[in-house]
């Protein structure tokens, strides 16, 4: 039990650091909403190393903390919608046992973007921004794939980690 709490703290700290590193990368594609989603790497790892409940708690804790430190109330709402939808889809795909880490991570990236866009539509009461959907689908696929590669390498080296 003690080690569980310690590991949870380490995972939270890692997710926050990745959020920070991400905020330092000054990439601007001219289209809002596209970013690598480094913090999702930790969520993917947690999905494989922790139980589902802990993964959800980690996801919420990291979004709220990162939001207060690097963002604002708006970014918390958007990230929360994206993060929870993404984690739910990833959990379901993992349970089905028909997807590899890549597929799960890519679905996570795609649905992270979809969740945020849906909230944006609700907040703005506008369907016009569905215009972004194709771009966000493809970018989620690519970033999810990259995260999948890195997560695969990390999990290989974390084989002995038992939480």
């Amino acid at each position: 039990m003690k080690t569980r709490v310690a590991y949870f703290g380490v995972f939270t700290a890692l997710a926050l650091i990745f959020s920070y590193v991400e905020s330092l990368i000054p990439i601007n594609f001219g289209i809002p909403g596209i970013k690598l989603g480094l913090a999702n790497l930790i969520i993917v790892i947690a999905l494989y190393k922790m139980n589902i409940k802990e993964a959800y708690v980690l996801s919420v804790v990291r979004v709220v903390l990162a939001g207060f430190i690097f963002g604002n109330l708006f970014s918390i709402v958007y990230s929360l919608a994206g993060g929870l939808l993404s984690l739910t889809v990833m959990t379901l795909l993992k349970k089905s046992n028909k997807f590899s880490l890549f597929g799960i991570s890519m679905a996570g990236g795609v649905f992270h973007n979809v969740g945020q866009l849906i909230v944006a539509m609700v907040v703005l009461e506008s369907l016009n921004i569905a215009y972004y959907m194709p771009v966000l689908l493809i970018s989620g696929l690519i970033t999810g794939f990259v995260i999948g590669i890195v997560a695969g390498e990390m999990l290989k080296r974390l084989q002995n980690l038992r939480i």
Binding site: F99, F102, G103, L124, E125, Y132, P134, V135
Partner: protein, 120 residues
């Protein structure tokens, strides 16, 4: 780690959806672009023609400039400045969104004038 069959299906489905979505927008768009519609918090704020130059002050929070057939968010008082960094828009269906101020700027097709020309 190898890709499984379902992974490839997932990729294909997402790519197909994205291409489909783009084609739908191309279908609606690509015609003569014309009107800039500004919405604030889901309610119409104003409509402006792309052909004329405007400088629009939106609720003291955003400044939209229409110039050379393009609409560009020139200034905003929000912290993230995402809408300001957004490239100028001109094509039908293109959108600039300022989330913190709930401002949505959209380009829509120009309404065809019922008259071909007016002669004095």
């Amino acid at each position: 780690m190898k890709l499984k069959k379902m992974d490839l299906i997932l990729i294909l489905v997402v790519v197909a959806l994205a291409i489909g979505g783009m084609l739908i927008y191309r279908g609606f768009g690509a015609k003569e672009a014309g009107t800039v519609i500004v919405e604030v918090d889901g309610e119409a704020f104003g409509e402006y023609s792309l052909d004329e130059n405007h400088e629009i002050l939106i609720n003291d929070t955003n400044v939209l400039i229409i110039e050379n057939g393009q609409a560009n968010m020139y200034e905003a008082n929000c912290p993230d400045q995402i809408c300001v960094k957004h490239k100028p828009i001109s094509k039908n269906g293109e959108t600039i969104v300022c989330l913190p101020n709930k401002v949505v700027v959209t380009i829509t097709e120009a309404e065809k004038s019922e008259l071909d020309a007016v002669i004095d």
